[in-house]
């Protein structure tokens, strides 16, 4: 089923969740690796180009995901979950979305600080909105880096929680996202 039901995520929600998860892990690894590249590396120019292109397209996917979430039923929490678990999961999901957008925005603000737009795969260009603060590229850059680390830390907790529900509680939490 494409749509969510009261007891499970639908195909589209699942596909979006795992697509975003896969791309985010790749983006993190690429980001981490590309800033250390040698000037003469074949990837010196292409890796950041792909990082920015994929990142900006991913932001559209996440916007669509939120839209789909809004117009869709939300699976009910499992009856076996405690109030604390339900609350913690909610907060974690909210923070995951917030961190994603903060990363998209800070990344955009690095490259556009000098008025240059960002080319998405030589396909179209997202224009710059200008410089908002002095030394924007440095401030946005360190935010981007720490937010990316924070996101990965949060995702690890999130994934551990899912694994705990699957193997220790042996409930449906993970299964209904698969």
């Amino acid at each position: 089923m494409l749509k969510n039901t009261e007891s499970s995520y639908g195909t589209l929600s699942k596909a979006l969740h795992w697509l975003v998860a896969l791309v985010v892990f790749t983006m993190f690894a690429v980001g981490f690796w590309m800033v250390e590249l040698d000037y003469y590396s074949d990837w010196y120019k292409t890796a950041p180009h792909y990082h920015k292109s994929v990142g900006l397209l991913l932001s559209l996917v996440v916007i669509f995901r939120l839209f789909w979430r809004m117009i869709n039923k939300r699976p009910e929490p499992l009856a076996t979950h405690s109030r604390l678990e339900i609350f913690a999961a909610h907060v974690a999901h909210l923070l995951l979305y917030l961190a994603l957008f903060a990363i998209f925005i800070s990344g955009y603000l690095i490259s556009t600080a000098d008025g240059r737009g960002i080319e998405v795969f030589n396909w179209f260009t997202i224009p710059s909105a200008g410089e908002f603060i002095e030394q924007q590229e440095d401030i946005a850059g360190s935010l981007h880096k720490w937010l990316a680390y924070g996101l990965i830390a949060l995702v690890s907790v999130h994934a551990l929680a899912a694994i705990k529900h699957h193997f220790i509680d042996r409930d449906n939490t993970l299964k209904r996202m698969l």
């Binding site: 040698d38 490259s111 556009t112 590229e137 440095d138």
Partner: protein, 194 residues
């Protein structure tokens, strides 16, 4: 008669002495406020072309007297984070640990130690440059451009200078390839007499 002659010569001696004293004290403040001063650099890109940029934020003073150029002094302090190569991503990289490490070394400083008149308005300016935490003596080949009254009631003097800095000498890694191990500095300063 004799007395007055002696008095005269005494007077002129004293006044000449006094004049000398005032003349050597011409202090100038570099006009960074009105941006009539520039610290520009260029470095080879791959050995195929030049990349140029500048430092936007600095301040300094100098003392200069055209009668006694060898007594001149100059001091300049540069905010290293103000590096500007007209490309935000590149400037971020230049400020990072890979190059200038501006978090750690926020200021670069030049203090002259010896200025020698070479004739024809040319000056050799030797001094200590502190950059990236390393202090080294460097030589700037300078030239006086001119001095005189400005239209707004002040008095100005201006100089140009050139020097070449080896990245390695200041502990900056040579990451840009074999053609790009030296930065060529081109300095243009105008001072307002205080």
């Amino acid at each position: 008669m004799k007395k007055t002659l002696l008095k005269h010569s005494m007077l002129s001696f004293v006044s000449a002495f006094l004049l000398m004293g005032t003349a050597s004290a011409a202090e100038y403040k570099i006009d960074t406020k009105g941006a009539h001063a520039f610290i520009n650099f260029k470095i080879q890109h791959l050995g195929y072309s030049w990349l140029t940029g500048r430092f936007n934020d600095f301040e300094g003073t100098f003392s200069y007297d055209s009668e006694k150029p060898n007594d001149s002094k100059v001091m300049v302090e540069i905010n290293t984070a103000s590096i500007d190569s007209n490309h935000a991503e590149r400037d971020k990289h230049l400020r990072s640990d890979d190059f200038l490490e501006v978090d750690k070394f926020a200021k670069a400083k030049f203090v002259s130690t010896k200025i020698t008149d070479k004739g024809n308005g040319k000056l050799e300016v030797v001094g200590d440059l502190t950059l990236h935490g390393v202090t080294k003596s460097i030589t700037i080949d300078a030239k006086k451009i001119g001095e005189g009254k400005d239209p707004w009631g002040g008095y100005r003097a201006g100089f140009s200078g050139k020097t070449t800095l080896g990245l390695k000498d200041f502990g900056i890694p040579e990451r840009l390839g074999p053609a790009s191990t030296e930065v060529h500095m081109s300095l243009h300063i105008e001072g307002i007499r205080q």
